[in-house]
Amino acid sequence: MTQSTSDLQSSTSYRSFMTEPHRRFHERIVADLNGILPICNQGKCTAADISNNATEQQQITDLMHKVEQLCTHLSENVTDVFSQYYRERGRFCGAAYCTTAEIKVNLVDRTLMDRSTDVRWWAKEPILAACVGSLKKTAKSLDADFQEMAAYLEGTATSFRIPSLASSWTSIDIADRVEAISAYFGRKHELMFNPALRTEFAKTINTFLEFLKTGDGQEGTIKFATKLLKKLDGCQEHIENACRQLELIRASYPSLFDIVVTDDRGLVIANARPERRAGLLSQYVTGESWCAKALKAGSGQTQIQRATLADEDHPAIVFSTAIRDPEDRQGAVLGSINAFCDFQTEVQPLLGNYLPVDADEKTRDGWFSFFTDERGIVICSNDASAVWPGSHCDLARSHRQLTNGENCWSHSVFRGRESFVFSACASGQNTVGGSGWVSHVVAPATDIMQTDATPRRLQLGNKDLMQSKLVPEISKTTYATLQEDRKAIKLISLNGILFASQLGNRGAALAPVFDKITATGDSATSRLESLLVEMANAEISLNLSLQETLAKQAVDLIAQKVAERSQALRLWARTSCLRECLGLANEQPATDAERLLRMINDDYPVYRNFLLLGVNGEIKACSRPNRFTDKDTRCAADQVWFMKAMRSHRNSPPQITEANTRFLDDARQTSLVFAQAIRDEDNDTSPLGVLACFFDWQSEASEILHACLPKTASGRPMPGSAAFFLNREQLVLESTNPGIVKVNEVFTLPDEHYQVAENKTVSGTFLHKDATYIIASAKCEPSKNLDGMDWSAHVIRPLI
């Protein structure tokens, strides 16, 4: 991570941020120290009064000079202490909140990547390719069909002899009917996509055909018209299938405004939202850049861009890719699929996370979190009424134009309020091409600089406290200098009193001077010491609080990631090919299912293996068969995750289970298994089998934990720190620092950390291998389908 330090950071006068108690303290202590100076002058005068000896006078004057110098030094020190304190606080918050901004944007970056993969996967759905292919073929042939039909009708109109007894129709009626039917031929797309018009057309043509049947010689017309109607019905069926599939996808991804499928000319042929369908199908959207780009997208490419939808409040993020023939992935483009995501609604909770809240649990006034693009346009924000998506962010260029992995913070005025702005650009490692988005966290200056009214304290003596690694070096140096100054003043005073006593009666006048110097010096230095201790406690309190946030972020992120990823299983479990495979006899090869699972696994390498299991737990197919030596005999019937999935209801989400089994993979002691029952789509019967996969959380967890490590002001992980996940048996699942916390070993923590309540955080000190650490622990909010995942996140860093 690069630290981009703006000029503001170095030039800001931190004295302007001083709190009122600090300001009063500063004035008082400076007044006290200044009060010693007249006493020194008095001492110098007394020296002249009590002795005519120049050496004696010089000795006294030298002592007074030393005191004056020390007081001036102390006075300057006091001013510096405050400046340094506020500067350090700014730096510390800079590192902390830039981390928060970075975590958010990287998480969203990862979501973009995942969603891009999802969209590419949806594009591979055979139903969509079949629909696009069929409609294209139909549209192409319909013109000729209509021409031929028109010729048939013309023949009918001229040659059909009306049986006189069978009908009251006249030749004029026939001509009218022919004309009415022919009028539909110019509305090809409407006939293909508008079910009402198609029904009306079918009714008109069927009535006419019924009449024609009463006469002779019209078999050709009747046959052709029936074929035409059947062709149009075929269109209807394909469109319905495609729309149903899109609706199914949208049911698993509720943040999608809509999903639109077009053919290769930009004609909309299916969408996911029924209420928008009538106005959307058969429309050409080639002019929309998202469609144009999707049609040009290469195989394995997803285009991401923003679009404004007329009937939606927020701009959408559109994920677009081309649809190709399922049998020829590198072949010609058949059409496009475009998923319109309500990113503002989806990301708003994430943006609101980890911002301080008031008594009503609402984000505190003046705190904002939002993303901007390279032009500084807001993409989404935690408070859309104040920072509107689509508007300009009004931030300095140094905040808007960061490059991948860069961050910066500065003092600025935002929405009319003195604030600190912390910005971080996505690392760019996660997305296809990288979003390049910048995440900003804005905090009121008063909130950043305000010291906690009741800071949390650790059980530490002042000396240990001042040796703590959490206290800025500058405070430690000041504390040490202060001790030296206090000692120096004391020694000067004691030597002065000694000198006065050696002068006998003559020295009596000097004693009160040195007494006063001792008293004032002691009082000033003691108060300064208390101030430094108070500041150190405030630093520790801030550290504890931010470390708790880091732990909470870590556990929330992994839970969110697991929940998100498990949702995809729901969709895959509805694939017809898997259902068909479960109906096969054991000895029949499950080639199609294996190919499908392998294809999913290739696209989603975060899963280690996919298994399709029969009702008795036997493996029907898997994506990585070479990982098993005994695939044919292995049985999951006694596995908890298998039983849970088999017992689940039709609409249950995938079951997530942390299984301490080696069933799925031999490499790890623990596995996170997602399992979803596969059912017959039409009958609410018991499950046909189970689709299960082992989620490779190691790479996800490792990335999350590294992002949540405490950072130095330069953005590097704090030396000696570690972040790790534990399960309910205190087994380490993932760790950033195996030197301190080893994976797959039990790591014993104090009870209050190990038993931290759900959605709560706790922090304190912790002794491990003779080293003292501060530790923050957190557990995520309870979630129904995550009940099998009882993880806690912990962040430690050395204290002394």
């Binding site: 003596g461 000396k463 001790q483 000692k487 120096a488 004391k490 020694l491 004691l494 030597n495 009193i497 000694l498 006065a500 006593s501 050696q502 006998g504 009666n505 020295g507 009596a508 004693a511 001792t518």
Partner: protein, 165 residues
């Protein structure tokens, strides 16, 4: 300046206890100074310090007084005791005596200079067995032990002679 009925003492901390010596024995108070260790002598003698062209023996008061604890507040202050021939008249008038050579007392922390009335001095309690404890004053609710400097040196010398290294 103290009148004839009072005595000025310099108090200092060693471990958890506060002690004092007469101020008139003191030539100077100083911060931590460089000490040259001397081998093969009693551990109570830390070494030799050079002070303004004079060498002085540095005595560890923690070792002499067998202090434990109180390490939190150690500032390593030094009290320079003038040689006997350089004592001021007032000191001689009060029958104070020091050693023939300058001595530096290495104490944990200097406390203060205080005036006491010799009549307020209590005898040393029986459990305090050191022969160089002269008496006890009660200052601000704490017991302050007045040390007899010459006896302290005698004691050190006697033991050195009895147990030469």
């Amino acid at each position: 300046m103290a009148n004839v009925t009072t005595q000025r003492l310099v108090s200092f901390w060693v471990g958890e206890q506060i002690y004092a010596v007469p101020l008139l024995l003191v030539g100077e108070f100083g911060p931590t100074i460089q000490i040259t260790p001397v081998d093969a002598v009693d551990e109570r003698i830390e070494g030799i310090a050079h002070l303004r062209e004079t060498s002085a023996v540095v005595i560890s008061m923690r070792k002499i007084l067998k202090a434990t604890g109180g390490g939190q507040h150690v500032e390593d202050d030094m009290i320079y005791i003038v040689p006997h021939d350089q004592l001021c008249d007032e000191a001689k008038k009060q029958n104070l005596s020091s050693f023939i050579e300058p001595i530096v007392l290495h104490v944990d922390r200097l406390a203060n200079i205080i005036n006491v009335n010799p009549n307020d001095m209590h005898p040393t309690p029986s459990h305090l067995v050191e022969p160089f404890y002269q008496g006890v004053f009660e200052i601000d609710g704490r017991d302050l032990i007045l040390l007899d400097f010459s006896k302290l040196i005698d004691c050190l010398l006697t033991q050195l002679n009895e147990n030469p290294r």
